[in-house]
């Protein structure tokens, strides 16, 4: 099986994630976009691992680490968003403009 379609899918996922971060206004949706990017990286690693038929399974191990760390990060992110929501009653990142320059 050729690897190009998988890589293109991963790159598309990556681009959608970046687009989501730039365009989405809700902090939770931005978090989800970041998850998309991390998953595109996972796809990349697993695909490369299969392509290279790496006997040490480096790519797969790496993607397991990424999943774990992504979970920890989303936990922290949701905690911060929750804290913001309590103080401001909004999760819209456009309204976080107390500090400029």
């Amino acid at each position: 099986m050729s690897i190009q379609p998988i890589l293109i899918a991963a790159a598309a996922l990556f681009s959608i994630g970046i687009y989501g971060i730039l365009v989405r206004r809700n902090a939770v949706m931005v978090l989800l976009s970041i998850e998309l990017i991390l998953n595109s990286v996972n796809i990349n690693f697993v695909a490369f691992n299969a392509m290279l038929s790496d006997v040490f399974l480096n790519g797969q191990i790496f993607s397991i680490f990424i999943i774990t760390i992504a979970a920890a990060e989303v936990g922290i992110g949701l905690a911060i968003v929750l804290m913001l929501f309590r103080n401001r009653e909004t999760a819209n990142i456009n309204e976080f403009d107390l500090m400029k320059w």
Binding site: L7, F14, G17, I21, A27, V30, I34, I37, L38, S40, V41, N44, F45, A47, F48, M51, L52, D54, N58, G59, I61, F62, F65, I66, I69, A72, E73, I76, G77, A79, I80, V81, M83, L84, N87, R88, I93, F96, L98, M99, W101
Partner: protein, 478 residues
């Protein structure tokens, strides 16, 4: 390894008792410093663990020492701060210690996985710490900005790593570099793309210019000791990762990357300094100044990428990093001291404060002039090393970057000396009340004198620090 075990032991203890925690953390970080000195003194050859993915050599030992010392100073800065409000203390120290552990892992990491985990471990606790003041909206806002950009940067780094793995099939840096050379992939678009993605990701951590926008907001919102830690240790972690990656993985394909870095470094200096000129909030001023300093630290590495003389570049960058760390901690200490007396975000309210608090005034003059690079303080030697490494190459890029740096050193002097002028010469402001809190608590006194001594000694006897820098760069010959 002793270092890591000492720290992990330290990590387990802090959860038990509220008031012992601070003491244990402070002593623990001091104790962790001891094995580093012994290992450095008995150093014979690099110790290679886990098939080359974790290496203890002089470079990593020196930087480990730096990180531990800076964290120790941050703890001392924090004691009075954490006690002054009612938030639970234990996790504060625990989070700072885990961040320290991450930084220590990064200095020794020699493969993609270890480095990624180190970077994450170093930066993730900082997201929480920067939002420590839970009721304060500025702190909340700084925290969410830092978090979103921090995670985005981590994913950019990861995408770059995945491309690197796909091209070479290896994770250990030396294997990757060998494979890149053997299969002649050093100038290929994939390698350059992955290098740029990694550079963008680390650029967020070290706040170089297109990626700096989070820094002033987060610095302003975060508690002051955390800000000091962010601007010194967190930034140094990013630089260490960048130095290792450039000189271990991309050394053969450095040409294109070097030119990009030269431009970034020049623009970073200008943007940082020109924005700092118009700041009235002292913390934001230091934030922009630390962006400008990042440009200075990056400059030798950028030029080294073009000329291929990494030994010199690493030497200059590491020396600058070490000296910068102590004078910046000192500068934040000064702001901390003055804000204890007059609680104001506007530094023009600080007029004549030095007459009330002469010691703080002296600290202010010394640290701010050292940041500006006035001899005989440490800052001048750091700047001297950087300029020497830029100019001695004779490359057109090196020389022009040197000129840009010289212009920026002058711009920086304006706002650094303005702070001292306000504190010493202006008449007291009438719209703010002084707390008459001129007493300096002893932990802060210790921080002040330790950074003061290190700053002055590095200026008068630069030999000590240049030895450290040289020792750290020798390793990169291999």
């Amino acid at each position: 390894m002793t270092i890591v075990s000492a720290i992990s032991l330290d990590l387990l203890l802090p959860r038990k008792l509220k008031y012992i925690v601070a003491l244990v953390s402070i002593l623990g970080s001091l104790i962790a410093f001891v094995p580093i000195i012994f290992q450095y003194a008995n150093y014979s050859s690099p110790e290679i663990l886990f098939e080359g993915s974790y290496v203890i050599d002089k470079f990593s030992l020196i930087l480990k020492g730096l990180f531990i010392l800076v964290t120790y100073l941050t703890f001392l800065l924090s004691v009075n701060f954490v006690e002054s409000d009612e938030y639970y203390q234990g996790e504060y120290y625990f989070l700072l210690l885990s961040s320290l552990l991450g930084a220590l892992v990064v200095t020794s990491s020699r493969d993609l996985l270890t480095m990624f985990i180190g970077i994450e471990l170093a930066s993730t606790p900082m997201f929480l710490l920067s939002g420590w003041k839970k009721g304060d909206q500025k702190s909340n806002e700084g925290s969410i900005k830092f978090f979103l950009l921090g995670v985005l940067s981590a994913s950019l780094i990861l995408y770059g790593f995945s491309l690197l793995y796909g091209v070479t099939g290896k994770l250990v840096f030396s294997d990757i570099a060998n494979t890149l050379i053997q299969s002649d992939l050093n100038q290929s678009p994939v390698t350059l793309l992955s290098a740029i993605l990694i550079l963008a990701g680390i650029g967020f951590k070290i706040s170089i210019v297109p990626f700096h926008s989070w820094a002033p907001d987060t610095y302003e919102g975060a508690p002051l000791p955390v800000t000091a830690y962010l601007s010194v240790s967190s930034k140094a972690t990013g630089f260490v990762a960048l130095i290792i990656l450039i000189s271990k993985v991309f050394y053969a394909s450095g040409q294109g990357l070097g030119i990009i870095l030269v431009f970034i470094s020049g623009i970073t200096m200008f943007v940082g300094n020109l924005s700092a000129l118009q700041q009235t909030n002292p913390v934001r001023l230091l934030a922009y100044s630390s962006i400008a300093q990042a440009g200075f630290i990056l400059a030798p590495m950028a030029v080294a990428g073009i000329t291929g003389n990494y030994e010199d570049g690493v030497y200059a960058s590491v020396t600058y990093l070490i000296i910068y760390a102590f004078m910046n901690v000192g500068a934040f200490l000064v702001i901390n001291l003055l804000q204890r007396n007059i609680q104001s975000d506007d530094m023009y309210d600080w007029g004549g404060l030095a007459r009330e608090m002469p010691l703080a005034g002296i600290f202010a003059v010394i640290f701010f002039f050292s940041l500006a690079g006035i001899p005989p303080l440490g800052g001048w030697f750091a700047k001297f090393v950087v300029f020497r490494s830029l100019l001695s190459t004779g490359e057109i890029f090196g020389v022009s970057l040197g000129i840009v740096g010289a212009i920026n050193a002058v711009i920086a002097l304006v706002y650094y000396s303005r702070v001292s002028k306000i504190i010493w010469m202006d008449s007291p402001s009438e719209n703010v009340k002084s707390n008459k809190d001129t007493l300096i608590p002893s932990p802060l006194r210790v921080v002040g004198f330790v950074s003061l001594i290190l700053t002055i000694v590095s200026g008068i006897f630069p030999g000590i620090f240049s030895n450290l820098g040289e020792a750290s760069s020798i390793f990169f010959n291999s």
